[in-house]
């Protein structure tokens, strides 16, 4: 119980409460602006990478290495440098407090890395390899610093598969009749992997539920090819 003299000294609604609240708001705004400027640079680079990769839809397969993969690798290197800058800045603050700012851009970068690797080797790049490419940690549990999360990797994979589903008919247009078979096998294998997950009603589930349309689209392409005897003989 405060004395009446002490009570008189304190206003019922203490202005200090609101001035410290405003200071907190202003501080958060400054942090957000700092991180956002780096993310915007990453976003700009991402559009360049995306533009290069979109050429896969009108470049013959034998010309991919020179026309698409080489410039794409260069652009991804530049993005990796920006991601490193972002990692340095973001690791000063709680990761999950701010990660909504960069989540989508990181997913785009990861998706492009996945696509680039698949076009080179036909393989799915692992989450750890993505971390190596970007020189940032992945899937951290015990450290509160910048990292690529499992959800980022999986969401990126859904974008990549959608792009591959688009590539299948375009490859036929470019007279590469073997490409759809390769795409079909890969997409089905990944889709089988996604079936193992116990998905909740969240963003990832909505993306994964959409994959069956990509699978169907590529199956239709393979069906059309087999029906017309265009599948290469082994």
């Amino acid at each position: 119980m405060t004395t009446s003299a002490a009570s008189a000294a304190f206003p019922n609604v203490d202005p200090a409460i609101f001035s410290s609240l405003q200071a907190k708001i202003d501080n958060d705004t400054a942090i957000r602006d700092e991180l956002k400027s780096i993310v915007e640079a990453l976003s700009k680079q991402g559009r360049v990478t995306q533009s290069i990769l979109s050429r896969i839809h009108n470049t013959p397969t034998e010309d991919l290495a020179e026309s698409v993969l080489a410039p794409c690798s260069e652009s991804l290197k530049e993005q990796a440098a920006t991601v490193k800058d972002l990692a340095q800045a973001a690791s000063k603050y709680p990761f999950y407090k701010w990660n909504s700012i960069w989540q989508r851009e990181i997913q785009n970068v990861v998706s492009n890395i996945q696509m680039c690797e698949w076009l080179k080797s036909g393989n799915l790049v692992t989450l750890e390899d993505v971390g190596h490419s970007l020189e940032v940690p992945v899937n951290l549990k015990d450290e509160d610093t910048f990292h690529v999360t499992i959800e980022d990797y999986l969401l990126a994979l859904t974008y990549m598969i959608e792009e591959l589903a688009r590539l299948a008919p375009n490859a036929v247009t470019l007279t590469d009749y073997a490409r759809p078979l390769q795409i079909s096998k890969f997409i089905k294998d990944v889709h089988a992997g996604f079936q193992l997950l116990n998905l909740k009603n969240d963003t990832l589930r909505r993306r994964v539920d959409g994959l069956k349309y990509s699978v169907k689209k590529v199956e239709d392409v393979v069906y059309d090819l087999s029906l017309r005897g265009l599948i290469p003989k082994h």
């Binding site: 009570s7 304190f10 019922n12 609604v13 609101f18 692992t126 450290e143 992997g193 069906y223």
Partner: protein
Amino acid sequence: MAGVKRRHDGMVENESSQSETKSPYLPVFEAFRAQLDEHHDRRERIIKVSRDVTAQSKKIIFALQRVRELGKPIHASTSKQTTPMYATIRTLLQSIVPDLQGSNAYRYRANISAGLQEFMEAVIFQHYLETQQVMSFEDAQTQLPNGISLTYDDYALGLFDMTGELMRFAITYMATNGQLPGIARGAGPSHRSSILADMQDLRTAFEALDATKAHSLSRDFDNKLKTTRQSVEKVENGVYHMIVRGKERPKGWKPDFSSADAGRDSGEAVESR
């Protein structure tokens, strides 16, 4: 069955045999599944606690609305109801402290937020009823178990909601007592100590905040501020009508109470001008 593909009628034989091959990516997805399941289980534990804390906090607020005095410790009959509720809340929050450590504090912020806001509303409301002062952020943080940190957003949004409870309390008090609740404080004019003046101060303070760039707070800020304005105006109108129409009230008149309430209030004189 997971991992085994459906056979496609019409596919050539080599395609059929190929489609039976197990996906090489199953092991990596099994690892992802384990981690995502762990994440979702933790999230759901936190959501359940948040809901229970919300429910208990609302019960506390209902009990506090039955309080009849401002600026004094809560009456024993009300404390008897609220003390076990506070204990339940602290037990619930303590149970999820391990789930909210390190980077998980913000990962699951959205899941615990509703519960914390409601709890803040309850503790700030009780503090105001007992002291007629708004509890500071630092004092509010001490109401939570170690290991659960209070964010300014949850504190501010809880405080916004508390203005709604003040409005209910003020209207109910005026209806049953014929006067505005408040306590004399020092040598200041008595009207400055009224609940209405405090609500007006709260509204002024909130309006002074620039939350347009506070990403998470700004989503709710405009709606909450609008509701707070409405609450203050309701009390302002209530006071006006009490002053104007209250003059018509016969001296000594009071609403009929049940015998229990009548017993408690019999010693309190109703004042009218």
